[in-house]
């Protein structure tokens, strides 16, 4: 396995938690990939797409397609952004055959990072140790658009000392929903309050997930309520970076 893969960092990882991007590179390189970070990328356009702003969504989609086209594969540390590229980019060009075929080509080679490592590379972390208990939240877009469920668990199970505790309602939305959480803060809060309680109930040391948006929502609520649970993107543990600062901890 020596694929030349492009990392689509995602706007949230770029600004809020660069460690996730570096963890993705580290794991992909360990799996034998050559990783490139295309400089033309910014955001996949999901905020515009989900707000109904089709013109801006199309503009950002075209920019992202152009940035990612030259590579064998595109890997994304987010089920939500990968889902946008894989499932929704081609839907934007019903009236434009040329762009639609370009969108389809990029969609077909775009993968969520843990699905790529597990299914395409057939890779598992080796020699990674982390004595802790963790619980895993299945973020909705990854779960329902991309079928991501077993892949992260297979990778996490290869970490020595890490034990996974089942989360009640693991497939229930955390209430993030992109701009939903700021447009309807009261509803979002009611949902994430229940999620944070369910996480606390597991007694796990760590909360893991595959999407930074959901993680920030859940970690932010856990911190506000005084919980001791620490949150990481699962790829950080898989890449052997689970000994670093959790979300909201100073480096």
């Amino acid at each position: 396995m020596s694929a030349n893969v492009a990392l689509f960092v995602t706007c949230l990882v770029d600004v809020m938690r660069p460690r996730i991007g570096f963890a993705a590179i580290r794991a992909l390189e360990a799996a034998g990939c050559t990783v490139v970070v295309p400089q033309g990328q910014t955001c996949c356009g999901q905020p515009a797409l989900n707000s109904g702003d089709r013109p801006h969504a199309v503009a950002l989609t075209k920019q992202t397609i152009e940035a990612l086209e030259p590579y064998e594969a595109v890997v994304v540390p987010s089920g939500s952004c990968a889902g946008t590229i894989r499932c929704h980019y081609p839907e934007l060009f019903d009236d434009d055959a040329a762009w639609q075929s370009r969108a389809r080509a990029v969609a077909a080679k775009t993968f969520e990072v843990m699905a790529y490592l597990d299914e395409v590379c057939g890779w598992k972390p080796e020699g990674v140790t982390l004595p802790a208990t963790a619980t895993y939240h299945d973020s909705c877009s990854g779960l329902r658009e991309l079928g991501i469920k077993a892949q992260p668990r297979r990778l996490l199970n290869a970490i020595d000392g890490l034990s996974l505790k089942p989360l009640s309602g693991a497939e229930t939305c955390c209430g993030f929903g992109g701009t939903f959480c700021v447009k309807y803060p009261a509803i979002s809060n009611a949902i994430v309050t229940e999620k944070a309680d369910a996480i606390d109930t597991t007694g796990a040391d760590l909360l893991l997930a595959g999407d930074l948006g959901c993680l920030m929502n859940m970690a932010g609520k856990l911190h506000r309520k005084g919980s001791k649970v620490r949150a990481y993107h699962a790829i950080e543990l898989i890449a052997g970076m689970g000994d670093g600062p959790a979300i909201g901890e100073e480096a």
Partner: protein, 464 residues
Amino acid sequence: MSGFTDRVDAALADPILKIAVERTAGTAEAKRAIAVDAFPDFEAARTRAAAIKDHVIAHLGPYLEQFEASAIAAGAQVHWAQTADEACRIVIDICKAAGARTVARSKSMLGEEIGLPHALEEAGIVRVETDLAEHIIQLADERPSHIIWPAMHKTRDQVSALFKAKHANPHVEETIAAMAESARRELRGAMLGADVGISGANFLIADSGAVCTVTNEGNAELSLVPPRVHIVTAGIEKIVPSMPHAIHMLRMLARSATGAALTQYTTFYTGPKLPGDRDGPEEMHIVLVDNGRTKMRAEGLAEMLRCIRCGACMNHCVVFRQIGGHAYGGTYPGPMGAVLTPALDGLAPNRDLAHACTLNGKCQEVCPVKIPLPTLLKGWREKSWREGLEPTSMRWGLGVWAWVARRPALYRLGTTVAIRAMRLIGRNGWIASLPLAGGWTKHRDLPKPAARSFMTQYQQEQRK
């Protein structure tokens, strides 16, 4: 503040509502999961159910004409209504022609949609709701909050108090059985004494002209058979070609709604009483109602016409589970309501419904006819954007963001500035209050970003 936001705040402030919704929807969710697991290849059954509905919706005209001919042959009278008002007028005229003073109504969401309860009252006709939950709603003078359990927002204790205040001869013992008996005492005489029985239809069978209703209380049968006249009001999308199709849809409906294999009572009404029959109404009228359905079909909402009104989407919706049904403000709540209400009542006053959704996809996953509800909701968001209904702040904010995001070099500068600003406010790794992001920080903390963005760090490392 919009009407929607006010209703949401009221709902979230009501602890009893939360308990009531969780009890019913939570039970339904658990029971449905068991029923679906036990069903051989539920996924294939969903695909077939969707295909049946897509077929009839694509060929509505011929199937409705076939239904009309079959129903007339069975002795029923068929009426066509373009609008809600027209449908109500037809029903009232039939009631008046029959000299009806009292009608017994078996729960029908289509009846709610066209405003039939109100129209009957305006016409001075006494309306008796015979479904137990609709009876509760009528006593409380409220609106249904769920399409399967109209009174799901009420707890048993609230219902007990209501019966004691309103029933002629209420229960004494505080048991479910005693309360049901109290309702039975109240309703049975009214059902048997009604001049007209009004129902909806779960399915219309094209090749036989039969109308199918499902209930768990038997109230439909008791409301529709003894009176002299039976009136059915049904949306035109309720049509299925023949009995085997209806049976397939029934298997999907009951499991998706309550997790039961079948409802307690599943009845097919084919025409009125015929010579030699011992009972049944003398007249049967079927009012086929469009009320925007052909427009929905023409304007990109054909998939919504697959809906069989099972309620699974709302039972599994994280938003509905928090705010209940009344907050949605329309006849139909939850995800299916959020798609239907803008079509029925207009987008401008209901634009919030399309946005108050996390797009988590659970509703689509449990829908027995595979309606792509999140996609349809995003369709409303797009229409709202195109028509300029979105708030100016949102349009400007997204516009500026997208303009910058299309210029990667400028975008990098922007992220650097944003990171510095956020880090100035952060304390011990967290930001407890952030200007312009109060919706976030009112309820949760925001992690402080790292000192340098990924792109900055990556470029610095590449240069080494």
